[in-house]
């Protein structure tokens, strides 16, 4: 409870004490937004960790070998992630549902185990030391980027593009028979998601001293997916709330932080069963009551008078 007391009584001290946590929340929120974009267009893609890796490695390698300023490096990382997203999307986006998810898992692991661990310039299994790492200064670009990106994605979901995505999500066949170019809009969503993930990866290297290939496995994508699902994917605030909640959770419940994954898993199951729209979503605070609950309530009620 100290966590909340301090948050409200001493915000500046709280900020100073939890700076890294806040930075991590920001990065996780951007990642959750990146998976939200593809979710919003009705696709379950799990390639985000791969695009993060591309953004991260590009940024660090450019800092190591080129004289370009850091912001340029980060943008190049994000754009490159988008470009590779386009190339990967060409064959992969023809797949649907679970097959799309599995193919993108294949991409992430093939990139990590097949490419990163085998190309000498990436430092292979050792990872790379980041020469420009600045754990305390790194929080500034994160805190600036998050609101801007949130606003942009929120606007985007209200343009014709966003409407097209929603139409594809609800019914792909109907969308395409209404003249929506389904492959094009899916590709746009996928590339935007890749750019966001690449950018988040680039931001993250800035607060860490190392780029470690084990960070970019499917486990990471699953974590990102958890943020989006727990927060809800009906609008862009959901993933941000989910990322904030789940990233801060181990800090809030210090005593149980060893059992963090148990808590995460239980929260995930409870949300998907009782509140499929996520914490932030339509229906106010409504939950889907379990069957035993309704049955129990029915048996409690007195039998109707004859």
């Amino acid at each position: 409870m100290d966590f909340f007391v301090q948050l409200f009584s001493d915000p500046v001290g709280f900020y100073n004490q939890h700076e890294l946590l806040i930075a991590q929340i920001g990065i996780n929120a951007i990642l959750a937004i990146s998976i939200f974009v593809t979710f919003y267009s009705g696709q379950l893609t799990l390639a985000n960790a791969g695009f993060m890796a591309i953004g991260a490695y590009t940024t660090v390698l450019m800092s190591l070998y080129l004289p370009t300023p850091l912001p340029v490096n980060m943008l190049v990382g994000a754009v490159l992630a988008g470009a590779i997203g386009f190339l990967v999307g060409l064959p992969v986006l023809r797949l649907r549902g679970i097959f799309l998810a599995i193919a993108t898992i294949g991409f992430v692991e093939a990139l990590r185990l097949g490419v990163i661990l085998n190309v000498p310039i990436t430092g292979e299994g050792q990872g790379l030391k980041n020469p420009t790492a600045d754990p305390l200064g790194g929080i500034v670009p994160i805190l600036i980027s998050l609101p801007i990106l949130t606003y942009l994605v929120w606007r985007l979901t209200h343009t014709r593009l966003g409407q097209a995505w929603a139409a594809i999500r609800e019914d792909e066949l109907a969308a395409s028979s209404n003249g929506i170019n389904v492959p094009l809009f899916k590709m746009i969503a996928f590339v935007i998601s890749a750019i966001l993930a690449g950018y988040a990866g680039a931001l993250e290297t800035h607060i860490n001293f190392f780029v470690d290939p084990t960070e970019y496995s499917v486990t990471r994508t699953i974590q990102i997916l958890t943020f989006a699902i727990v927060g809800g994917t009906t609008n862009v605030l959901g993933p941000i709330v989910g990322a904030t909640f789940l990233t801060a959770l181990p800090e809030i419940i210090r005593q149980a932080s060893a059992y963090r994954d148990v808590v995460n898993g239980v929260i995930l199951i409870l949300v998907i069963i009782f509140r499929p729209q996520g914490l932030v979503g339509r229906g106010g605070l409504a939950i889907i009551p379990p069957r035993w609950w309704t049955r129990w309530r029915a048996s409690e009620r007195p039998a109707p008078a004859q």
Binding site: L117, Y259, D261
Partner: protein
């Protein structure tokens, strides 16, 4: 080289056994059960726990572990799958709830040290252990120039026999017919008087028992038992196997398992261990792009 092919067959048997359970659930329930790898891990952990911590002989311990894993399958069905089916949630929802269960299972083992809540089950936290020497008889056979360990031979025999039995049950028995009917069309099967829920529950039981068996065989042959063996060694490779063979196809999963074993051993011999790790996913990616129905998936409906 022959020795390498033998190794490929052993590891392929484990992949196949694991993937058969995976693919069975996908074929019947249309759900990718990502908790399957956690059950695989628990199969090894339960056996180890009974043998090393509670002093049981190996065989009864293994049988109890397999039954416990089957019961975990029922837990998956009742906690993660049935409530979602009741409200016709999309298949993605089940994928996510099984991820949640897998997180819980792995974290419980990972955090268990002596004196903690689950100290009776596991005492080594995130570390890997192996069966105590002498707990499992392991004769070594020499055949020509080849060395065959007894446990690896057991694995081969057990997996082949079990897969044949499963194939027979699904093809030729009444239960198998009901299973195929449910896989084909859930609603029509209900109309024909098949208890669909019971079929689902028994599918999960059998699938998880097979997964647990694969896990304990893995622990036996590779001498690596720990909370991450499911997640790191077979979860995603199992996906690669069932995609190679065709999602939901049992013969496909078996052949896919052996195929992946061969591909990996070949990549290892030819290019070294770094490439070996990535080759499964490259194969998975290429297969999905070129032929999403897999080697043996004909039409998506004809699966079992």
């Amino acid at each position: 080289m022959t020795q390498q092919v033998l190794n490929a067959i052993f590891i392929g048997s484990i992949y196949a056994l694991f993937a058969v359970g995976y693919t069975l659930v996908f074929g019947v329930l249309d759900v990718v059960n990502l908790a399957h790898s956690a059950v695989f891990m628990l199969g090894a952990v339960f056996t180890y726990s009974l043998v090393a911590l509670h002093g049981m002989p190996f065989l009864p311990a293994a049988l109890i572990a397999i039954v416990l894993c089957g019961l975990l399958g029922l837990l998956i069905e009742f906690v993660a799958l049935r409530p979602l089916r009741r409200r016709n949630a999309p298949p993605i929802a089940a994928l996510i709830s099984t991820i949640g269960l897998a997180l819980v299972f792995v974290a419980i083992v990972e955090q268990a040290t002596p004196g903690t809540l689950f100290g009776w089950l596991w005492q080594d936290g995130p570390n890997s252990v192996r069966f105590p020497t002498g707990a499992v008889p392991n004769p070594t056979y020499h055949l020509g120039g080849l060395t065959i360990e007894g446990t690896k031979l057991d694995i081969l025999v057990i997996s082949v026999v079990l897969m044949l039995v499963l194939g027979y049950v699904i093809r030729f028995t009444q239960v198998g017919r009901a299973l195929r009917a449910v896989a084909e069309n859930r609603r029509a099967a209900t109309l024909l008087g098949i208890n669909v829920d019971r079929i689902f529950a028994s599918t999960l039981f059998v699938s998880s028992a097979l997964g647990g068996l694969a896990g304990l065989l893995f622990g036996l042959a590779i001498s690596d038992i720990g909370p991450y063996i499911g997640r790191d060694q077979v979860e995603l490779k199992g996906l690669a196997v069932i995609v190679l063979g065709g999602m939901g196809s049992i013969p496909g999963a078996v052949l896919g398992g052996y195929l992946l074993g061969l591909i990996e051993v070949f990549a290892f011999v030819r290019f070294g261990s770094n490439v070996e790790a990535g080759v499964a996913f490259a194969a998975l990616f290429v297969m999905l792009v070129v032929r999403p129905q897999g080697l043996f998936g004909t039409r998506l409906r004809e699966r079992l």
